[in-house]
Amino acid sequence: MRAAIVAAILLAAAAPACAQEQPQAQAPAANVKVFQLPAGSRPHDVAPAPDGKVWYTAQRQGALGILDPKTGQIRQVPLGEESAPHGVIQGPDGAAWITDGGQNAIVRYDPKTEKVDVWKLPADTGYTNLNTGAFDGDGIHWFTGQNGIYGRIDPKTGEIKVFKDADGRGPYGIAATPSGDVYYVSLAGSHLAKIDRRTGAATVIEPPTKDQGARRVWSDSKGDLWISEWNSGQLSRYTPASGVWKSWKLPGDTPKAYAVYVDERDIVWVSDFGANATLAFDPKTESWTRYPGSAEGANVRQILGRPGEVFLPESGTDRLMIVYTSTAP
């Protein structure tokens, strides 16, 4: 299947009036490509794949999608009868590690052998609504389940352990810092938590904004955590070394911050369902650059990338936007 490149130019949209006195710029037009994915695929999460390719979870079609941006070639690998994959990341082994809510399982796809491995969660765990995964510094894969759990799988043995979150339902985004520590956030519980890699215990860290709806988390190069807050419409930073929080309200009248990612330049990317756009935030200047969705209801639910590239999967349009941050596409 060959993807149509929908547009190599940024789709025009007027920058909204700034709700605050923060500078805001339109993104330059020449650094964006939009790829049409299979109709109905509903790309949820995205991750860099080997050889310059991009993986996405085709949540509505129970498959892992593979896009080659150089050629536009796309194919989807079925993951199982009940599959509804949510998260995907690339592991230290070069494989795709998928948190599959439909199968209540961790799924691994090996791009060399094309083998798909499925590790079901223990039966007594019940349905967990698996969400997102991250590898710690020891190569252990940690994951969240929105029904109130987090857990770990050892890729060497396949052993799975599941733990209960202190507040019950809500565990959503999860990320590792450069030092290999793992943090996750709880959307319903409105908290950040740090996992003790040895014991599995999680220490809850309460953000200063009550009921903020912490949805996703990512680390910058210094190990500071950036959090997208769905209910409050804020982007927040937590500095573990000092315990200090700082928050910025997204521009616009009704921001709803969904995904967050920090690129190799420590620019923070956050998607806003309220404005149908993704914003690139420069912490040094506290300025925002706006990348509008390619069409109405783009619904970017996760962001990831690699040096020079940021991937914006549009679950609402079945498209994948790539922003080239250092070179022309």
Partner: protein, 132 residues
């Protein structure tokens, strides 16, 4: 029989068969298990909105009308086309939310099994769910 007449007869037969088929009976006990797929985002207690609105007494309620919940444009759009939630509409919605409300912000992509949907609806109708 001419081809067009044949096709029309086949459609009529299929429609008659569908109309005559007994509705799927839901089991509220199994439905409580099915509700685990909704649990992360929806509470059953009145007024308790999470990332999704409370499902307390959902049937008969106006669409996009749970007090205090900030609905997506997709659900507000659905409310302009259809007024209230009933079991048939909820069945269509949970089978494929994106199909009924394009661009919905709801993460869940659908419950394909008709029996499981019937069980879930039976649970949401049940005193056990409504008491919370």
């Amino acid at each position: 029989m001419k081809p067009i007449a044949g096709i029309a007869a086949a459609i009529l037969l299929a429609a008659t068969a569908l109309a005559a088929a007994p509705p799927i009976q839901g089991d509220p006990k199994r439905g409580e298990v099915a509700f685990q797929k909704c649990y992360a985002c929806h509470a059953l207690e009145p007024g308790k909105n999470l990332s999704g609105p409370s499902l307390h007494r959902i049937f008969g309620r106006r669409i996009a009308a749970a007090p205090g919940f900030d609905y997506s444009p997709a659900l507000r759009g659905l409310a302009t086309r259809t007024k209230r939630w009933d079991p048939a509409l909820l069945d269509r919605f949970i089978a494929d939310p994106e199909a009924l409300a394009p661009h919905t912000s709801m993460t869940f992509t659908g419950m394909r099994n008709a029996q499981e949907r019937a069980d879930l609806i039976a649970f949401l109708k049940s005193p056990g769910a409504r008491r919370r």
